[in-house]
Symmetry: C2
Subunit: 309 residues, 2 copies
Amino acid sequence: MSGPEKMSGVLSPVITPFTADLGVDADRLVRQCRWLLERGCGLAVFGTNSEANSLSVEEKIDLLDVLTGAGLDAARMMPGTGACAIPDTVRLTSHAVKLGCSGVLMLPPFYYKGVSDEGLFRAYSEVIQRVGDARLRIYLYHFPQLSQVPITLTLIERLVKEYPDQVVGIKDSSGDWSNMEAMLTRFPGFAMFSGTEAVLLKNMQNGGAGCISATANINPAAIADLAANWQAPDAQAKQDEMNKLRTIFQALPLIPAMKVAVAHYAGDPEWERVRPPLVELSAEEKAGLLAELERLGFEMPGLAEPQTA
Amino acid sequence: MSGPEKMSGVLSPVITPFTADLGVDADRLVRQCRWLLERGCGLAVFGTNSEANSLSVEEKIDLLDVLTGAGLDAARMMPGTGACAIPDTVRLTSHAVKLGCSGVLMLPPFYYKGVSDEGLFRAYSEVIQRVGDARLRIYLYHFPQLSQVPITLTLIERLVKEYPDQVVGIKDSSGDWSNMEAMLTRFPGFAMFSGTEAVLLKNMQNGGAGCISATANINPAAIADLAANWQAPDAQAKQDEMNKLRTIFQALPLIPAMKVAVAHYAGDPEWERVRPPLVELSAEEKAGLLAELERLGFEMPGLAEPQTA
């Protein structure tokens, strides 16, 4: 079977910078992606935390071209490609595969609720058939709190049986360890990424693939280090340490909070912008966040240094 | 203020026919739209019941061109144009306005949940600014069960105050009469369409604009007749009669059930197809539905007759 190796380790659902007119700021995104790669993080661009569902398919295709055109390694990329409409999912997925991305992270169609496993199976099948490329590697995206369309164990079983070479893993953002544990047990070899680094050590100890976590935007080196060295004696101490940082961000609207942190440590207020329907942190939230980060002695080394895009 | 008059009466969220390879069947859609117009129904194409969120923006733009190109009256159209990403909403809305559609039905961005009224206000504002056309008439689309992003009274108040010429009405699919009543009271002159004909008479009696209802695909003439003659002495009897039909459909997955009915009465099984993640009715569901329709003596006159597309 030709095609990319299964992905593992830590990926960041890279936050997306916007220009003053709310366009995508491709140059800043390239710099951020490079900063993350240099710290051991893969690039799950177009994730929930990338505000990906606030971007059009055209914007995402253009960005993938810019990122790879800037020399960033497509083999380290797992762009989110799942949309409500099959033609959109097919178009973006095909483009990602052609550019050499090692995988795609695929939400189910998420407008219609209460849909059956049969309907979701058909949706994924249709995408796989239409993309029609042996290099396609799908990581399912289970995020019931936002998509409201869960990926059940029964659906995974059926997809893996029918498309063993294409459906190779999952990101579980449910936060429900019992669901992650059930997948690790029932589907050995299926690459299970937790949607948070809070259970990264546990996931690695149980045969998981790694994590794709929002706060990998903020704390990439430490999280990547734990994924690589989870068998080291100080692993639990590292896990406990990174949980402190995550707790701070989780108390706030996560996406604007991460953007405030990047803006602050990069010395670049442009980073604070979000696209509606999201809104920026209030002045109070922002001051509170930065005070807490300072109290923790937190830094983002290398972010403020001049970079060549 | 130049631009279209406020819309009223009954509109059908026209079901979308698909070809064997799941492409959009534009010819059948044109015929269906013509059949609906001839029975007094306006065309809320690209509604929830049109499987609109399973269509790409490009498919919807092409369909609008085909519908108007076939001579159907754009003044009777209120296409659904609200998408998750502002650029998509802007693109489709601009096209609809340019073609002369009297209004657009606009879902809020629906991927991110728990967003603030401020964020939704900014989203609608951004769309209005970017479309930048005095002819734009927005009917907000409140469907919390599916979108999971409600349009609150506070948001409506703010939008109507800021954009009195653009934000002119709403479709309320919540099924919650108390919410509809609150809008009728607080926003006189704001065109309130109920999302079901089950409260059509009550809505008209309280100053509402009409309804945009799934089952207007099946029962257009009777529903349009009640909207036009709601002050007649037999109005309640008509309301009671049409409720019987709606009850039959509501007991089933609504979209595939309506397609089964159209397929049956048109003598055209092609109509049964749905796009994933939806699935067709089971054989049992189908037989049960058709038996109930027969028991009711239901017919769809004119649907099976040869039509010129």
